[in-house]
């Protein structure tokens, strides 16, 4: 394997798949935009967390509040784990990142199932607010984050903050 292949550049002499693309040796370089996006998701989740917990306490009492907190923590942990797996696997190779995304999906679903299964009979858990929190938090944070995602090559993660002209 040549040095260019090790560094993630395209090596034309390497065994390739479709149309000269070798996903086994190419890898991500530099900062991970996914990590930046997930840091932002977690920050927003922590901002709205107290409001959601208060809503849970109002509608379902203390068990509702703790269920909402548990569900919120579960979703934020799920995001963080997904980003960590994709980032670390992507630094090894694109192919491993694909495998991490697929098996990570199974692993994370299993972990969520296991976490809910372990606490389902606890006195401080109510299933309805927990389920509502899982769906609403997951989708709500994602849609909120979509407003701040940049799809430009210069800023592939989060959009830079706008600065007034002339400063």
């Amino acid at each position: 394997m040549s040095q260019s292949a090790v560094n993630g550049e395209r090596d034309l002499s390497a065994p390739t798949g479709d149309a000269g693309v070798d996903v086994l040796v190419q890898r991500l370089e530099g900062d991970s935009p996914v990590a930046a996006v997930v840091r932002d998701l977690i920050r927003r989740g922590l901002i709205v967390g107290p409001l959601l917990i208060a809503a849970g306490a109002i509608f379902w009492g203390s068990a509702g509040a703790s269920s909402v907190a548990f569900g919120l923590g579960l979703i934020l942990f799920n995001f963080a784990l997904a980003a960590a797996m994709l980032t670390y696997a992507g630094r090894i190779s694109f192919a491993l990142m694909g495998a991490a995304a697929l098996f990570g999906y199974l692993i994370r679903l299993s972990l969520i199932f296991l976490a809910v299964w372990l606490v389902k009979d606890a006195s401080w858990i109510k299933i309805v607010p927990l389920g509502i929190t899982i769906i609403v938090t997951h989708l709500g944070l994602l849609f909120w984050e979509l407003r701040y995602i940049s799809a430009s090559l210069a800023y592939p993660g989060l959009k830079p903050k706008t600065k007034p002209i002339g400063r």
């Binding site: 935009p33 995001f79 999906y105 679903l109 969520i112 389920g131 592939p156």
Partner: protein, 93 residues
């Protein structure tokens, strides 16, 4: 004696019916959860495959593709989470 045994059989039959109903509900909920996880699994597989191919063809746009891929995975995973929540509501609520 005969009436006692008849009543016992009726009670056992009722218990069996309740147990059968609970077992049916549990298996239906598990089946629904399994079905709900299949679709997003296929979707994530396709999404990640295309994203990896795009990153390999144009490494300079890997960051942009990775961001889009992550959001796509998260939105697709929401379908599985909805299936999971329906499962826990049917099973435990």
């Amino acid at each position: 004696m005969s009436s006692i045994s008849t009543t016992a059989v009726q009670v056992l039959g009722q218990l069996d019916a309740d147990a059968q109903k609970a077992a049916d509900a549990a298996s239906s909920a598990g089946f629904a959860y399994g079905l709900a996880a299949i679709g997003p699994g296929i979707g994530i597989g396709y999404l990640v495959g295309q994203a990896v191919q795009a990153m390999a063809r144009q490494p300079e746009s890997a960051g942009q593709v990775q961001t889009t891929m992550f959001l796509g995975i998260a939105f697709t995973e929401a379908l599985a989470l909805i299936g999971f929540v329906v499962f826990i509501l049917l099973k435990f609520a």
